[in-house]
Symmetry: C2
Subunit: 205 residues, 2 copies
């Protein structure tokens, strides 16, 4: 099933919410509660769940565990998707923490840095390798997604290294726009530029 | 001058790059070099700089310091824009570091947390306050932008508290979509949802 991007994003959110309700004695939830808890429109929620083949019980709502599993079948890969983080600074560590705290089918399988004090250490149980090992470790561990959490001046060369290692998706936290082949699934979170943009528009309101 | 969002984003990037070249003995840069270093189209760069009234020297290119100042006049507020970060965990600290490392007209003026071990301490020289102090500290320090770096379950109530304190912009790092009044400039970076979306599309390529 090839779903629209926005639908996949919402399914991911539903699942994280449902997961918290899995041990309730009456594990049912209404679409309007799901909608309210996630700040979405109930019609939208029902449409999404219909799309993946879940109609819900008219009286009791949706069975939390069934829905959880169904979403999992649709959005998870078989086995874990493995992620590499380049940059073991605060941001890289924050992302590792985020991923480790969530029940999700993603795992940080390696982290890379240039700092010799970090190489060989473990962060959230994940080994830190020298940056020169990317092209070796990424294919060896079957990593498909690379996260760039290094200072902006290194972002372009890190992206080249990641591409050369065979990753299929890149999440870029630096302030440099990456110009990658269309075959690479690219997402960019540029914190500083976003803050400057916000400051400008807040000032010019 | 009310510029388009994308233009402001690019101006912010030009400036950060130019800043690094300010001490060169010949502080001139060509638009095609600016473009190459930022992965942009040179025509785009020239159009942006023309828009803010900088034509550049045909032979030598643009004067780095002049351009730097000009961009500053346009995108900076008078005085610093002040930012509050709610959540002094790894992510909140990473953002603080990012902002402190950049030469920009933004300053983190306060950080808030619920952890009594953190309250009263300083992070990157910024004092950490109890979350209950938001509505007092934000107006007192003239903070205009709030960054939400707390676990998702608290995001909605933190957003309400920030709104009540008078901020005009919110940058939301949680996985909960915020439904805010149109008068608030909202940007959302949802790391976990983005990773799940990437995993889905990488799998289904």
């Amino acid at each position: 099933m090839k779903l629209p991007k926005k639908t996949v994003q919402r399914l991911s959110r539903y699942r994280r919410l449902l997961y918290k309700y899995r041990y309730l004695s009456e594990p049912y939830i209404y679409s309007h509660d799901l909608a309210r808890l996630l700040n979405l429109n109930p019609v939208q929620v029902r449409r999404d769940l219909m799309l993946i083949g879940s109609a819900g019980n008219h009286r009791k709502g949706y069975n939390v565990n069934e829905l959880n599993n169904l979403i999992g079948e649709i959005i998870d890969s078989e086995g874990l998707q493995k992620v590499a983080i380049v940059g073991a600074g605060r941001l890289g560590q924050a992302i590792m923490n985020y991923v480790a705290d969530q029940e999700m089918n993603l795992k940080v399988a390696a982290v890379f840095d240039i700092d010799t004090h970090k190489i060989g250490k473990k962060f959230s149980d994940v080994e830190c390798y020298d940056i020169s090992k990317v092209t070796e470790v990424v294919p060896q561990k079957g990593i498909t997604i690379g996260i760039i959490a290094v200072p902006s001046e290194f972002a372009t060369s890190i992206a080249d290294i990641l591409l050369g290692s065979g990753v299929e998706g890149i999440l870029n936290f630096s302030s440099v726009h990456l110009d990658l082949p269309k075959s690479i699934y690219l997402k960019e979170f540029d914190i500083i530029t976003t803050l400057e943009e916000m400051a400008y528009f807040v000032k010019n309101k």
